[in-house]
């Protein structure tokens, strides 16, 4: 227990987390500090490219083993099934409509890539290795949750939800962040260590610094979102946003143990399951479930679950994983 607190405390005073806190604080006090949209997007493209490439290059050495495939399957299963849990919880804990519950559920089945990135940074700083292909698992988990949510709406009759058609499916699967993550994973895998060496001083050395600035921006956006989204948040919804991540992490842990992942891989699987989308799913929901209130989903996923995972969740999941997985 003391060890967890220690790790959490150490995590809390890293530049990465403090930058996020600075952003939150600036938004809270209504500072006009802000990043241009283009700069924020540029940083996120950089992070996706770097994390994908490094994952691929890390795996190139080992070759694609059998476990990649089973990990992908496990990820998809988690992404499809976690929304059902989230939906049930939301319908019992809050009074949100079927459509809203389904939309929120989709966010929690999917993943937050920046939470994943923060977890890899923490693992790296602790010298804990992880399977490179977890990046591919992350990409695989982005979309399936959306299908679950649309199915929930169709089943429970929550409005005129657009049916999952081929056009929509294509759009979701070829979402920019999925394509960039998978693409750079493949490039890293093909070019391997040789390729990594060529662009190391771009994607490895400055990585953590960029992550700081990006989290500063995320803090600003999350803080602003919380301020304006407050009204939409009931106590039950907030509770949900704090309970769902550990529940997801448990599911991720089970999957990781079944797969026999390393300690690092287990933590990352937990983080993926525990985190909630704030890019791919919100976009898909606007197209497929326009009646759902976007403010509710984003306040929960970006305003509550994201900070929770960043500050408390990740070290917690690491401590729990360490109890289950021999190093």
């Amino acid at each position: 227990m003391g060890e967890i607190l220690d790790l959490a405390a150490q995590n809390m005073i890293s530049p990465v987390i403090l930058s996020f806190v600075l952003g939150l604080a600036a938004a809270f006090f209504r500072s006009d500090l802000s990043f241009p949209e283009a700069v924020a997007k540029g940083m996120s493209l950089y992070l996706l490219f770097a994390i994908g490439f490094k994952g691929g290059a890390g795996d190139a050495a080992h070759g694609v083993d059998q476990r990649l495939v089973s990990a992908l399957v496990a990820g998809v299963v988690l992404s499809v099934s976690l929304p059902l849990v989230a939906f049930a919880l939301l319908r019992s804990m809050t009074r949100v409509s079927v459509t809203d519950a389904a939309a929120v559920a989709a966010h929690y089945g999917s993943i937050s890539i920046v939470t994943f990135v923060a977890a890899t940074a923490l693992l790296a700083s602790q010298g804990i290795a992880a399977e490179g292909y977890m990046v591919a698992v992350a990409a695989a988990m982005e979309a399936p949750a959306i299908a679950s949510a649309l199915w929930l709406v169709a089943w429970r009759g929550g409005g005129s939800g657009e049916r999952m058609n081929a056009e929509l499916a294509r759009e979701i699967m070829l979402n920019g962040s999925i394509v960039l993550l998978v693409g750079s994973f493949v490039i890293g895998w093909i070019t391997g260590d040789e390729g990594l060496k060529q662009i190391e001083s771009f994607i490895v050395s400055p990585f953590k610094g960029v992550l700081c600035l990006f989290l500063l921006d995320m803090g600003l956006v999350a803080g602003r979102g919380l301020r304006s989204g407050q009204a939409a948040l009931s106590g039950g919804a907030i509770l949900f946003a704090l309970i769902m991540p550990p529940l997801g992490a448990c599911a991720g842990l089970s999957a990781a143990l079944l797969l026999g992942l390393s300690l690092g891989g287990t933590v990352l699987m937990m983080v993926l399951a525990a985190s909630a989308s704030y890019i791919a799913v919100p976009a898909a929901m606007r197209v497929a479930l326009p009646e759902a209130n976007p403010t509710l989903s984003l306040s929960l996923s970006l305003g509550i679950t994201f900070p929770f995972n960043l500050m408390v969740g990740i070290p917690l999941y690491l401590a729990v994983a360490a109890a289950f997985v021999a190093v």
Binding site: S34, F35, P36, E37, A40, K41, S44, S160, D217, L220, V221, R224, S228, G229, Y278, I279, A280, P282, A283, M285, R286, V287, P290, E291, N293, P294, T295, L298
Partner: protein
Amino acid sequence: MQMHQAKRVEIIIEAMMERRLTEALSTAGVTGYTVLPVSGGSGRSGEWSREGQVGRAGGMVAVICLVRPERVDALLEAAFAVVERHIGVVSVTDAQVIRAERF
């Protein structure tokens, strides 16, 4: 200068729906439109701003079409079919254009 009657239609719509809207416009025979970026706004669903945002969701764009008056109805049907279930505003103004052959 010789001017011609036209309608200026301005559709403010979610960025995610831009492609669907412009495809619907093309299908309805509208060939010319211009898309302006939108940096923020407010409506029944609250205030928003693009600052620091990464995803496209939560942003809007303004699509401007200049059309001959007789074509405005077809355009509005098409636009409305897309906008209907979505956040968005459609307005029409009387305008005059030069080079009528273009519209």
